[in-house]
């Protein structure tokens, strides 16, 4: 079976697994302890912070380690909302955001905040003009993802950040960077982002580790209170082995980005071109994120195509993994103006740079076979 669901999670680097095991075995001290065990763990934590900061070109003090992107996104959004509610209670985000942003905003709406969910165009983009038009004097936060986890659409973060900060310098700008890092160049300062979320397991690190970059001077209301770990933004003993492993994965993914993007882009274009030749399928992804091809099979439930491909030895995904067990059509595709049939038949293929040309050959072959099998079924049904 070939795995093509990298946007959901990735197999960890071999050396990340070894590192985590070694650190876990040797340095079990609590980084907050005073004795040597604690100091050693603290040193590892500090080095992890430096390595991540270098890779992301920020200051080590700006990194808050978390349990993953869901926590990072929740901390960014709720942390800002609760901290700055005296300034205003309005938040701007986009209708195609990941559930961890979308649902967090909805929860805040229940608590009396006002949230504007910006619509996207048929391509899934939101524009700087739209963002600025929706921003008001009582807006405290704008949250926009870098790369859409379902369709691979890339938002114009540079334009948005620059325009936003020019007109509303006090509004904080959060970027959910989970699907972008390691695939596309990341420029947190250039985007004028105040907050940036990352997850380790999307870039071949361990699950259960992530980070939030909090620009110097930005305060957050901590969601987890207790100890003073992570500058007081997130209490709880840091998971040293996972964080060391994450920092290695972040470094490796960053170093390989340019070359990986080149390889993956070629495969993405091959698969996309193939999808276009199959009349039953409709391509939804564009020439943006190098690791995602997304298409619909209108009239066919996505799950059926997924299982057919699975029988042919290829694992792909419907929607995002975080919502794929829901039987509903994709919120993202509906927001892009697709009809119910298209939005229910969405399939996402996502890869990593360790795939080979041969893997892609097999994928394409399986795709042709699957559509042929299901096509004959359709005819028979009629």
């Amino acid at each position: 079976m070939k795995y093509f669901d990298y946007a959901a999670t990735t197999p960890p680097f071999e050396e990340v697994i070894t590192t985590i095991a070694e650190v876990m075995g040797r340095h079990y001290g609590n980084p907050s302890s005073m004795h040597r065990y604690g100091e050693d763990a603290d040193k590892l934590l500090k080095r992890s912070r430096e390595v991540c900061a270098t890779a992301l070109r920020v200051h080590p003090a700006e990194i808050v380690f978390t349990s993953g992107a869901t926590e990072s996104n929740n901390l960014a959004i709720k942390g800002v909302a609760l901290q700055y509610q005296a300034r205003g209670k309005h938040i701007v985000t986009v209708s195609t955001e990941h559930p961890s942003v979308y649902e967090a905003c909805k929860q805040l709406a229940d608590l009396g905040f006002e949230v504007t969910f910006l619509p996207v165009d048929a391509e899934g983009h939101v524009s700087a003009e739209q963002v600025c038009a929706a921003t008001r004097t009582d807006t405290i936060l704008v949250s926009i993802m870098h790369v859409n986890n379902e369709t691979g659409r890339v938002q114009p973060l540079h334009d948005i950040g620059v325009a936003l900060k020019e007109q509303f310098p006090r509004v904080l700008f959060h970027v959910d960077g989970v699907q972008g890092y390691g695939k596309l160049p990341v420029d947190i300062r250039g985007w004028k982002a105040d907050l940036y979320s990352l997850s380790a397991h999307k870039l071949r690190g361990p699950k259960g580790a992530g980070l939030l970059i909090v620009r110097e001077g930005v305060e957050l209301f901590p969601l987890l209170s207790g100890g003073s770990q992570e500058q007081g933004f997130r209490a709880g003993t840091e998971n040293v082995p996972l964080l060391v492993g994450m920092s290695k994965a972040v470094r490796l993914a960053g170093e390989r980005q340019a070359e990986a993007a080149q390889r993956m882009t070629a495969w993405r274009d091959r698969v996309a071109a193939e999808v276009k030749t199959i009349p039953q399928l409709r391509l939804n992804s564009g020439e943006e994120a190098p690791h995602i091809v997304h298409f619909s099979y209108p009239g066919m439930k996505a799950e059926v195509l997924l299982h057919t491909l699975e029988q042919l030895g290829v694992a792909v995904s419907t929607q995002s993994a975080c919502s794929s067990k829901l039987a509903e059509p994709s919120r993202i595709l509906l927001a892009m103006g697709r009809n119910e049939a298209e939005a229910s038949g969405g399939i996402r293929i996502s890869f990593g740079d360790e795939h080979t040309e041969q893997d892609i050959d097999e994928l394409i072959l399986a795709l042709r076979q699957a559509v042929a099998q299901l096509g004959s079924l359709e005819r028979w049904k009629r």
Partner: protein, 408 residues
């Protein structure tokens, strides 16, 4: 904004006659060192100036880095144009557009014809460029006395340079052009600032830190190494000598002269630093003393403490207010580290009432009464650990057993 290069201007040392070449070379080397993370940028040297050709690198990031180079006074991001009037005008208009002036912004053109082969004089160019700019950007007004924007155009033989921003950089003397000194670096706010200030006057700095494990923690030592690493960010690399001070310090606690203990400690520190300075070829000691700030920094204390060394004792902060020092610490990036709450060896045995007016004769007598003091001092020097810190965080000469680099 789109810029092609950065123009770096030198400061006061341009007056230094024969030494000028040496000074310029030091700046050039320092710039080269700091540009390592920007591989596409390249350097061009011209009389009295350095140009950084950006080659697509971010001008904002590079300015942030080069603002720290000692000896550079100002930086201007520059657009380049071929030496033809039409393209020069076009580029000037483009620059003004990018500056996005609002209604009523005033400007003037300040053209210089450095290459006399160009057909139009400086005075003519002011008009030839000014009028199309006004035509294209009707929001602008001309003010030749105090304009909001001064559009500068320099015509040279190879190219014309068009710019308006002049960004202030750190200035001072190029790194290491005034010799070497030993900085007594504690974990506090002042001493890193003193180190930075002396580097800015062209001194090469090596750091000396005294630690007293188990009275101070390993983390206090790490904190000082981090502070030194911030200084390495200015110097490219920096040496730090870590002196085990516990034995010397505890010897003083046995004398029963509590109120003199700080004075005694400081004198020993200066002796040790002097021995290290001699070993390393440094010609002065630098401290973070600021007059009157604490008991050991009264004039009387400074007198008694200072007599323990024959080297010049430089105290760059001596006349500064705490507030000014704190501001500087924030600017150079040491403040956040300095306020981390770890004990250092001086806060440890602070007596209830340290003397503000020590007597040199008494102090010398106590020192003479400690039989093995000189041996303890020599031992401290002999067991000093020396570490070289690189700007990018690498540590040389130190066995890091905990942090295995292959884990990261």
């Amino acid at each position: 904004m789109h810029y092609d290069m950065l123009l770096l201007r030198f400061g006061e040392f341009t007056l230094k006659g024969k030494n000028r070449a040496r000074f310029e070379k030091a700046v050039l080397n320092h710039v080269k060192l700091l540009l390592k993370p920007f591989p596409s940028a390249s350097l061009r040297k011209e009389f009295g100036r350095i140009y950084v050709v950006l080659g697509g690198e971010s001008y904002e990031q590079i300015i942030q880095v080069l603002k720290r180079v000692f000896g550079i006074t100002t930086i201007s991001p520059v657009k380049m144009a071929p030496v033809e009037l039409d393209t020069i005008i076009e580029t000037a208009v483009a620059l003004m557009h990018e500056l996005n002036p609002t209604e009523g912004t005033t400007f003037k053109v300040n053209a210089r014809r450095v290459w006399k082969g160009f057909a139009h004089s400086s005075h003519e160019m002011n008009h030839l460029i000014g009028s199309p700019v006004l035509r294209e950007l009707p929001v602008l007004k001309v003010d030749v006395r105090q304009p909001d924007i001064e559009l500068r155009v320099e015509v040279r033989e190879q190219a014309a340079y068009i710019f308006s921003d002049i960004i202030t950089a750190v200035g001072g003397y190029p790194l290491g052009t005034n010799g070497k000194a030993m900085l007594l670096l504690s974990g506090g706010i002042d001493s890193p600032v003193a180190g930075w200030s002396s580097m800015r006057r062209g001194l090469e700095i090596e750091c000396v830190h005294f630690y007293s494990y188990p009275f101070t923690s390993e983390r206090a030592k790490e904190k000082v190494i981090d502070l030194a690493r911030v200084l390495a960010g200015y110097a490219g690399r920096i040496k730090i000598h870590l002196v085990p001070f516990t034995e010397v310090q505890t010897a003083f606690t046995r004398t029963g002269q509590d109120n003199l203990i700080i004075t005694l400690m400081r004198r020993s520190m200066l002796r040790i630093a002097t021995m290290l300075a001699e070993r390393e070829g440094a010609l002065a000691l630098v401290t973070g003393d600021s007059l009157g700030q604490v008991a050991s920094q009264t004039l009387s204390s400074m007198n008694v403490i200072g007599r323990s060394t024959e080297l010049p004792l430089l105290r760059p902060l001596v006349m500064m207010d705490k507030q000014e020092i704190t501001e500087l610490a924030k600017q150079i990036g040491t403040y956040d580290l300095s306020i981390l709450p770890y004990e250092d060896c001086c806060t440890l045995f602070v007596p209830k009432s340290p003397t503000t007016n020590p007597n040199l004769w008494v102090v010398q007598k106590i020192e003479a009464s400690i039989r093995d003091l000189n041996t303890l001092i020599e031992q401290a020097v002999a067991t000093t650990e020396t570490v070289v810190l690189e700007a990018d965080g690498a540590i040389e000469g130190r066995k890091e057993e905990v942090v295995q680099e292959d884990w990261f």
